[in-house]
Amino acid sequence: MNFPILSSLILLPTIGALFLIFLKNEDGNSTTAKYVSLFASVVNFLISIYLWISFDQSISVFQFVEDRTWIEGFINYKVGVDGISILFIILTTFITPLCIISVNNSVKTRLRDFLIAILIMESFMIGVFCALDLVVFYLFFEAGLIPMFLIIGIWGGPKRVYSAFKFFLYTLLGSVLMLVAIISIYWISGTTDVTKLYELGIDAKYQNLLWLAFFSSFAVKTPMWPVHTWLPDAHVEAPTAGSVLLAAILLKMAGYGFIRFSLGLFPIASEIFTPLIYALSVIAIIVTSLIALMQEDMKKLIAYSSVAHMGFVTLGIFTIQQQGIEGSIIQMISHGLVSAALFLCVGVVYDRMHSRMISSYGGIVTIIPKYSILFMLFTLAALGLPGTSGFIGEFLILMGVFKDNFLVAVLASLGVILGAAYMLWLYKRVVFGKLINENLKSMIDLNKSEYFILACLAVPTLFFGFYPDPLINTIEVSVEDLINMYNSNIMIK
């Protein structure tokens, strides 16, 4: 493969953003800005689909690798994909255009700048998922914070500054430790190339500290209990499109990081710290589900449910079972689709009524039936009903966990009961019941673009629920290989 397809995936949105910078920032230009960004992101999506088609699922080595010297003897710009990363890239390129379509209703000022932020963020996210050099990974990983910080800080709600800083402080705190760890890896092994590090392995005596340093960064971004409190605030203040990007893609970077780096580079430490992950995940699942039950703000409720769902993900990853890890990846993809859709659903009613409080709704099913049907579908997917992608992920994870540890599986399964309770109760209070608030009568059902976005998310949610083969086949060999590598490392020790 001579054509640098991954680099073009990374660069294309940035090029789109550059065009936008030269566009005069006037209101009359906002449609043009939107078309330019939409064009860039859709082309990017098509390229990523082409990438998926031409990807060879039967081998686990990194494909489409580009390796260029950046700083002689220190950093190489190295990118490549395997079965695990490719799905995340597609998720990113799929969600971004939908976000861009959705901005019409939620962003009222400085639309052009907002689109620039989204496009640049897309570039960084794709970079994260295909970086094969630790330094390159770190740069993308951290740079992704900046556009998000701006999105919350500039276009957010009334408490946006507090939320933005909380978000930034939390995530930066973990990242500093990760940077230190990356530097020390370079001192220990003389390289930051991920594939070389896979082959060399890292001395067992350093692994624990390094693992913890990476963990502190990933745990904040996942987010795991107890470093999750930035997420509800960030979501509540972020504009709809920001929430969507945050939930659908940003949170997945950490899950991906756990698989690629924690398991891949520090297997021995991972083995040691698995009980820690299990404990935190189970606490996250149960505690945040209970918290979600009591929320009065729709966005906060979904944010807390995200923490619970990500708890399942971290649980599955550290089972080191085929079902567990595959379940986690599918759960992440599914959560990417479903949480994005749920935040958009909240956005739809927020744009009309300017309230996120559950109590200000009720009885809207006959007024906006199309919306109600789609919202129901995503509610069901969120509670993991069979036939939706949410089920496949959750069920496989729990199957994997069960093989490893009964008690953890039993406790985590309690989350499934609570999940049904808080999601259905939310739905009931918002959509069913008597219509009390007279203002709701003037609500208009989904417009064309909203309908299109939600339908785009609904199709894969259902399709992969009934036929997850395309996803599983893509990751199967890579996961198998990862587990083998992991186990052989443990054996040697």
Partner: protein, 637 residues
């Protein structure tokens, strides 16, 4: 052809659900009813093939989940067990579809209702024809979902919404056990396909697992976990609270889902897994006890309820208890037999009561009815047939199946068997009393309704009566006709073949004659007793109730299960939620975390700020202090 049994209802649901607005109410009703009826005819044909030609087939439709060693297909397995279920599900469903055309005639959302009914039928068929546990789980949750939709069909009613959520969440509690059971099966056998699992069961009977320090036999644990799932779906005691509340849904739904089909899925699960349960005498005993307790408990509650549908709901709960204790004593085929006959007479009773409710313009309290048997002659006659069949009146269908259960319990010959038989007979007596109470209070005595004049009550239209007539034929003859096939002594295993496993063949002896005559006699005797209590001497029941006030209140409040659950589960969950949110997240994590640190740094910098006062003499003083300290340090050194 077999596949079309599955997919015709799905097609019906899609047509009515998505295109109902375009094709109109009447067309959606006709299309859904027709497609489900075709499916019913095909099912009957399949059952005929199974009976006559021992036809069995396992059709793989598509792959589903294929992860590592886990291999799950969408499939359709036809064997005697699933063929019987196919007939029960599709035939009752098609009749309920037709009945709904009349019953829902004033409702503005007819296509949606029909779409849900058809979707339910599809999910139920997926459940019964699965060849693996995960597709079973798909159907299991699918029927739960449709039940949720249909209970909450009248979405403006607060109580209906609450009942819908309660049904789903309580079922999820059961599913929690069921899912863990599936995980355990996968863990032990490395597969979730019935045939492979059942084959390996004998090899793990001695395996022990340790859980939280307890040593448990693996097979017992599997059976227990699966049974928890069955308890949730079949509303057995402890997990039964959702079923009476589910009566908030339209009556056809109660007949189809909460009487004839979905709630029997738990029984089906136990029977389907007979090759596992046979190796776990411990859990079989537990099933007997749970079934028996439920049968008794529900019958006592049914005695004092006044809502016509709730009485029948508790009756269903009680009859499901019978099915479970049949399975518990190892008479799986008898459990299936009762499931089969029960589907007809209970659907008949529900639809009949729907007809009564219709006549009274949505009145459900039997205290506000009475004296209308002449006005509703057909409904009255059909309800009588249903009641006779339910109570086990000789030679009607309930007689054959219920008596068979009690007989087999007796023949089991151990303590729990005798005990179960005793409770079974007593419960049969209670069943008869509360059923006749319902009939007498509804149709006889004085007319008690203040809102609808007796002249206004009217018989239901033909489209509602015809399904009732067909069901009554089933209620009368199903027992007599299928007795030999389902439970025939001697050649019992011929029909069921491999679909039910008996480790030891069922006893072929007959209990003593006095025992055989006991139940029918009690049933016959109960009619005059009920007549005396509820028509002749109406004061007597009130007197009895007043004399035993605490007991009466205990029964009226359904043994206080709902209140108990509020106290131990629901309120603590809410309190914990608030605690974790406001205190842990708010005060602890944020307080010491980001907010704490930022306010700490702020305080430090305010202090540091004070140093920079801008006064030269202060700076000079500090400099002097520093200089002298340095000097002292150097000199000392």
């Amino acid at each position: 052809m077999e596949i079309s049994i599955l997919f015709l209802p799905l097609a019906a649901s899609i047509i009515a659900g998505f295109f109902g607005r375009f094709i109109g109410d009447r067309n959606s009703e006709i299309i859904t009813s027709a497609l489900v009826s075709i499916s019913a005819f095909l099912s009957i044909f399949v059952l005929y093939q199974v009976i006559e030609n021992q036809y069995e087939e396992n059709i793989v439709i598509a792959t589903w989940i294929n992860s590592g060693s886990l291999d799950v297909n969408w499939s359709m397995m036809i064997d005697p067990l699933s063929a019987v279920m196919l007939v029960v599900v599709t035939s009752v469903s098609s009749l309920v579809h037709i009945y709904s055309i009349g019953y829902m005639s004033h409702d503005p959302h007819k296509p949606r209702f029909m779409a849900y009914l058809s979707l339910f039928t599809f999910a139920m068929l997926m459940l019964v024809t699965s060849d693996n546990f995960i597709q079973l789980f798909f159907g299991w949750e699918g029927v739960g979902l449709c039940s949720y939709f249909l209970i909450g069909f009248w979405f403006k009613k607060e109580s209906a919404n609450a009942a819908a959520i309660k049904a789903f969440v309580v079922n999820r509690v059961g599913d929690f056990g069921f899912a863990l059971g599936i995980f355990l099966i996968f863990y032990l056998f490395g597969t979730v396909n019935y045939s492979e699992v059942f084959q390996q069961v004998p090899s793990i009977t001695d395996k022990n697992l340790s859980f939280l320090g307890f040593e448990v036999k693996a097979i017992d644990l599997i059976c227990l976990l699966l049974f928890i799932g069955a308890m949730g779906k079949s509303a057995q005691i402890l997990l039964h609270t959702w079923l009476p509340d589910a009566m908030e849904g339209p009556t056809p739904v109660s007949a189809l889902i909460h009487a004839a089909t979905m709630v029997t899925a738990g029984v089906f699960l136990v029977v389907r897994c007979s090759p596992i349960y046979e190796y776990s005498p411990l859990i079989l005993n537990l099933i007997t006890i749970v079934g028996m307790t439920t049968a008794f408990f529900a019958a006592t509650v049914a005695l004092v309820q006044t809502d016509i549908k709730k009485i029948i709901a508790y009756s269903t709960c009680s009859q499901l208890g019978y099915m479970f204790f049949a399975a518990g004593v190892g008479a799986y085929n008898v459990a299936m037999f009762h499931l089969f006959t029960h589907a007809f007479f209970k659907a008949l009773l529900f639809l009949g009561s729907g007809s009564v409710i219709h006549a009274f313009k949505d009145e459900q309290d039997i205290n506000n009815m009475g004296g209308v048997w002449k006005k509703l002659p057909y409904t009255y006659a059909l309800m009588i047939i249903g009641t006779l069949a339910l109570t086990g009146f000789p030679f009607l269908s309930g007689f054959y199946s219920k008596d068979a259960i009690i007989e087999f319990a007796y023949l089991k010959g151990n303590t729990s068997g005798y005990y179960a038989a005793g409770i079974g007979i007593f419960t049969a007596f209670l069943t008869s009393i509360y059923s006749w109470r319902l009939i007498f209070k509804t149709f006889h005595g004085k007319y008690n309704n203040k809102f609808v004049k007796i002249e206004e009550t009217h018989e239901s239209p033909l489209v509602m009566l015809i399904p009732l007539v067909l069901l009554s034929i089933g209620a009368i003859f199903a027992g007599f006709l299928f007795k030999d096939l389902f439970v025939g002594h001697g050649g019992e295993n011929l029909f069921w073949a491999d679909s039910i496993k008996f480790l030891e063949p069922l006893s072929t002896e007959h209990p003593p004659t006095w025992f055989l005559l006991l139940t029918p006699c009690l049933v016959l005797l109960s009619i005059p007793i009920a007549y005396y209590l509820f028509i002749k001497n109406k004061e007597l029941p009130n007197k009895i109730a007043n004399m035993n006030k605490p007991l009466y209140k205990f029964l009226v409040n359904k043994w206080y299960f709902d209140e108990l659950y509020d106290v131990i589960f629901i309120n603590p969950s809410k309190k914990l939620g608030l605690f974790f949110w406001k205190f842990c997240d708010g005060k602890l994590i944020d307080g010491f975390g980001p907010d704490g640190i930022s306010s700490f740094i702020k305080r430090c910098s305010i202090k540091a700020n004070k140093f920079q006062s801008g006064f030269i003499y202060q700076y000079a003083f500090v400099m002097l202090l520093g200089f002298s300290a340095l000097l002292t340090f150097l000199i000392v050194n």
